[in-house]
Amino acid sequence: MSPEHDAAALLRANTAVLRLAARLFAREVDAPLYGRMLATDIRWGTGHPLVDAPDATRDEAVILEDMAAEFCRLFIGPQPVCPPYASAWHGEVKLGGRPAHAVEALMVRHGVRPVIDSRDAVLEPDHISVELALLAHFREAAAADPTRTGERAAVRELLEQHIRPWSDGFLERVADAARMGPYEGIAVLLWNVLDDSTVPTASRLP
């Protein structure tokens, strides 16, 4: 495989992880997503990276309800174990504090906004899912046209100013606290992707 081809494959893999993580942190696992995760025939160590070993004795509805409770415990609360907002991790007095303003300002500068589904539990632009979706968007845009320096700068800003300052702690917490479902696996995967998501350079991009 050529280095360019390899870099393109890596970019695709990374953005897919960013988008999957954005989806998993924003909303409960539902039947279609559960079905798709199950359908990916992949092993990681002794099991599937995102799905607990299937238990034939348990109804899918029960499994989904358990995962919904787990999502609630981790990200919604009462008293979420892993508040998914940067403001909460930066010691802001209020949710939607300065980190949310900063992401909002970035979006305004670049003329973009997130499309939040009514089922998404996303209140502020400093929600991890919005930040990850933005990162995926700008990385793809930067890769598609290396002359677009604005997108590259946005990737750098997102990573350095908005995501990395709290993502390590957040992901560690998710991996540590998760008792079931895809959350531990996605935390590890995402950590690798964020660690690898350096500003695209000519040598690393197609």
């Binding site: 954005a22 609630c72 010691g91 531990e184 995967l189």
Partner: protein, 856 residues
């Protein structure tokens, strides 16, 4: 991936100790797993980024802040506020100068509103319990699911013909129109409030005496002398800011403020004189002052002869037993001081007034204490006068001028044993229903009334009620409470025991028509409007109740014909000049033609009023027409000195120093109620107190209310601890030093008139001691708005860090500034016995006998 699954060889996602070394994936694995992620996420609804901007996005991130008038509800005073909003975000709160009650002032709690609005621990999605009640396992549900389940449950109860089995427990309710509309349309009388934990005894005492109102509004601003029996108006009064600003102006003009209180509160500190009294003796002090005023002829005899239903000489005869010497013996206040204050008070008349509240009325003898204090005003003839002891017939807006939009449902015909609380003769004797909140859960436990569904609304009964552990036991028991819906902003001990939690919009995100007793003596009406839209999926009951009514059906829906709350309020405010639009712009309206409510009893009856009226020759009472329910003639006034006047709205049309009404109410309940203000010593205090036995009192810290403020980081930083206040002399006797740990064991009263009043041991807490001269030697004072076990690191002084790792030190640098981590915060309510005044049912917060012991 389960936590107990073997860790994969290529990744060890066990970050114990913060190490992520084992997390690193090979490039090959990353590509492989990334491909898997691409398959998994395809078409399942990940967040997309678009460059199609919404119309309202201007790109201007710093527009001018808009000012939106509304009303505070961080406590019940409902001050007018202005929300300063930019980019859809509330930046700060200031006072609304147009509000006639608060006149542009707000307190620290009011300023802290944004910290509640944007609190990270707010409940923002409907939740349904998964697993055991109280296990803390929840899942998000949609509003559709929530509505469906709640409506199905409530419909079944109603269809069975047992609407009373649906109980509604409110805490502070500033949306009374919509709550009553929903409950009345449903047909349940099981509408439980918390008034007995607040002000029931005082209200009953005032209503007995003047009939027209149950809430006095001293004209402090124009007063020269204010005699305060235990009202902490500078910190926590129901009319906190409106009273405080007027008191301070009075002081500037030279008024004298004298406070009787067991504790050196901030109010006591702001007074000219503070006298430390033994709990429950305020009424005796007032009676001793009455003794001095009557004996020395300092009264306004003419006024009394005109307006008292009990002759001055008979009053003198009655109060003769309450000598200053006796009062000194019981209260600890020197007789000479009582005499001096009585003379000063009378000399300032009519520009003098009393004020009283929990310090005098939250006792086992609270009703009588406040009867005695109220009588002092009659003696000096200051009632209704400028600078004197005043009142207003309306505790909110003028509901005749601004009536509730039709159709309005009738009151329920079903009965609720708990709401009626018939053992307490005056609990429901007057217009504003008081009920006996502290016995609700005891009576449910005793099976006196079956409850099939409970809805708690802005009420943390499981933490803030006396014997809160009893409440928790009842809420935990699915046989006693088969279905529990909790509507609230914050997670609490009560929502922890719910089956469904509905996330309530804060007062900054919702609508209300509202007003409070007018401290300026002219009624007004206000609008609470959203300064920002509701966060997350939170909703107000103005949206929830109509939807539930439609789904429950059976005719309920007919009472909610409005498509939106705005439409309903549009109709409600139609009588206001300028209507709803004006209310939205100003936040408040007061009819400029109305005059302060001074001396309403002296208003002559008009010829039209007298047309067709009849007069009782003996009493001079003027009657017209008959009561539609009882057929009794309706009194409209009284002839005084040959002139037909309106009089007081009591049975005698005079100030009722002597009340046959309460005697009759007592007889009906099988209890003796004294017709005159008396001193009734607290039975469980009539004993020798060994050195280690004390009376435990409670109080509120100035930046907290009883329920919702501990989750505010801003307010908790200001005040977050409630050590036991103990007098130095008492501590010396027990060998207790400042900061020592003590164990406080409480006892139920030994008092047959109190439920479970067997003198038995109730509960224990451990806390530290703060020594002070500012508390009575027989008292141990503990603030009761503390001691949360859930609600976040700030609410619990870092106690539940383990449960909220998102707020762990590494994650939240602000927690480094949680310098009060581990500060004492103990739940006093758990060891407060259920202790209603046998007459009016108000909770005796300050009468619990405790034993203390040094530990550790």
């Amino acid at each position: 991936m389960t936590r107990d699954a073997a860790s994969p060889p290529t990744a060890n996602p066990d970050p114990t100790g913060g190490s992520r070394d084992g997390w690193r994936l090979s490039r090959r694995d990353l590509l492989r797993l990334g491909a898997m992620a691409a398959v998994a996420v395809g078409g399942v609804g990940a967040i997309e980024i678009t460059d199609r901007l919404l119309d309202d996005r201007t790109g201007d991130s710093t527009p001018e802040a808009t000012r939106i008038p509304s009303m505070c509800q961080m406590c019940t005073t409902a001050c007018g506020i202005i929300g300063h909003v930019a980019n859809g975000r509330l930046l700060k709160i200031t006072g609304n100068p147009k509000d006639p009650n608060s006149q542009g002032a707000v307190c620290a709690k009011g300023v802290a509103g944004p910290s509640v609005l944007y609190d990270p621990f707010r409940m923002l999605y409907p939740l349904k319990r998964v697993g055991e009640r109280g296990s803390g396992r929840w899942r998000r549900i949609t509003w559709e699911e929530a509505y469906d389940e709640i409506a199905t449950r409530l419909r079944e109860i109603r269809d069975r013909g047992k609407p009373e089995e649906f109980a509604f427990q409110q805490g502070r309710n500033r949306s009374s129109d919509i709550v009553s509309r929903f409950l009345n349309a449903y047909g349940t009388p099981s509408h439980f409030n918390h008034r007995a934990l607040c002000s029931a005894n005082r209200r009953a005492a005032i209503a007995t005496t003047i009939g027209e109102s149950d809430w006095d509004l001293g004209d402090f601003e124009n007063s020269r002398y204010v005699l305060n029996f235990g009202s902490n108006w500078a910190e926590a009064h129901q009319g906190h800011i409106p009273v405080a600003i007027r008191m301070m102006r009075a002081r500037e003009k030279g008024a004298r403020l004298v406070t009787f209180e067991t504790r050196m509160s901030n109010t006591a500190a702001l007074s000219d004189e503070w006298f430390c009294v033994k709990p429950g003796t305020d009424g005796l002090i007032a009676l001793a002052m009455a003794n001095v005023i009557c004996r020395e002829g300092l009264w306004d005899r003419t006024w009394l002869e005109t307006w008292s239903n009990y002759p001055p000489d008979k009053i003198l005869e009655h109060v003769a037993q309450y000598t200053p010497a006796r009062a000194e013996q019981e209260s600890g206040v020197p007789a000479t001081t009582i005499e001096r204050i009585a003379r000063e008070f009378a000399a300032a008349a009519p520009e003098c007034t009393t004020i009283c509240n929990r310090g005098s009325q939250a006792h086992r003898n609270g009703y009588y204490n406040d009867r005695a204090i109220t009588m002092l005003n009659a003696l000096v003839g200051n009632m209704g006068k400028r600078g004197g002891w005043c009142w207003h017939p309306r505790s909110s807006w003028d509901k005749k001028a601004i009536p509730e939009p039709e159709p309005v449902p009738d009151k329920p015909t079903a009965r609720s044993i708990i709401a009626e609380a018939k053992d307490w003769p005056l609990a429901n004797a007057f217009a504003g229903k008081m009920k006996v909140a502290e016995i609700i859960y005891l009576w449910i436990r005793e099976g006196r009334q079956k409850i099939s569904a409970l809805m708690t609304y802005n009420a943390d009964t499981a933490w803030s009620w006396p014997e809160a552990q009893l409440v928790r036991g009842v809420l935990q028991d699915e046989k006693l409470i088969p279905f529990h819906v909790c509507i609230d902003v914050m997670y609490s001990e009560t929502s922890h025991l719910a089956d469904i939690i509905l996330p309530w919009a804060t007062y900054l995100e919702r609508w209300d028509i509202d007003a409070r007793p007018p401290q300026g003596l002219v009624d007004y009406v206000s609008l609470r409007q959203p300064v920002v839209p509701p966060r997350g999926e939170s909703k107000d009951i103005r949206e929830i109740f109509p939807e539930l009514a439609r789904r429950i059906g059976g005719g309920m829906e007919a009472y909610f014909p409005w498509a939106t709350t705005e439409e309903y309020l549009e109709e409600y405010f139609r009588p206001v000049p300028g209507g709803f639009a004006r209310m939205r712009a100003d936040g408040v309206w007061m009819d400029p033609t109305k005059k302060p409510h001074y001396e309403p009893h002296t208003k002559p009856l008009t010829a039209a009023e007298l047309d067709g009226a009849a007069e009782d020759a003996e009493t001079g009472i003027i009657y017209k027409g008959a009561d539609s329910k009882t057929g009794e003639p309706v009194a409209i006034g009284i002839r005084i000195g040959g002139v037909a006047l309106r009089g007081f709205l009591t049975p005698s049309r005079k100030v009722e120093i002597y009340s046959d009404f309460v005697v009759e109410k007592g007889k009906a309940a099988g209890r003796e109620v004294h017709p005159l203000p008396v001193y009734e010593p607290i039975p469980s205090h009539q004993r020798e107190f060994p050195d280690d036995h004390l009376i435990m009192t409670s109080y509120k810290i100035n930046v907290h209310n009883a329920h919702r403020t501990m989750q505010s980081k801003w307010l908790q930083e200001i005040s977050h601890t409630n050590p036991a206040l103990l007098n130095r002399a008492t501590a010396d006797k027990l060998g207790i030093g400042d900061g020592d740990w003590i164990e406080v064991t409480s006892f139920r009263p030994l008092d047959p008139a109190v439920p479970m009043g067997d003198g038995s041991e109730l509960g224990t807490l451990r806390t530290r001691v703060r020594l002070t001269e500012g508390v009575h030697p027989l008292v141990i004072a503990i603030a009761h708005n503390a001691g949360r076990s859930v609600g976040g690191a700030y609410a619990t002084n870092g106690k539940d860090d383990a449960a909220i790792p998102g707020y762990g030190e590494a994650a939240d640098p602000d927690l480094d500034r949680l310098w009060w981590r581990g500060a004492i915060s103990v739940p006093q309510n758990d060891i407060l016995p259920i202790y209603p005044d046998p007459v009016a049912g108000g909770q005796a917060y300050h009468d619990t006998v405790v034993r203390i012991r040094k530990v550790g």
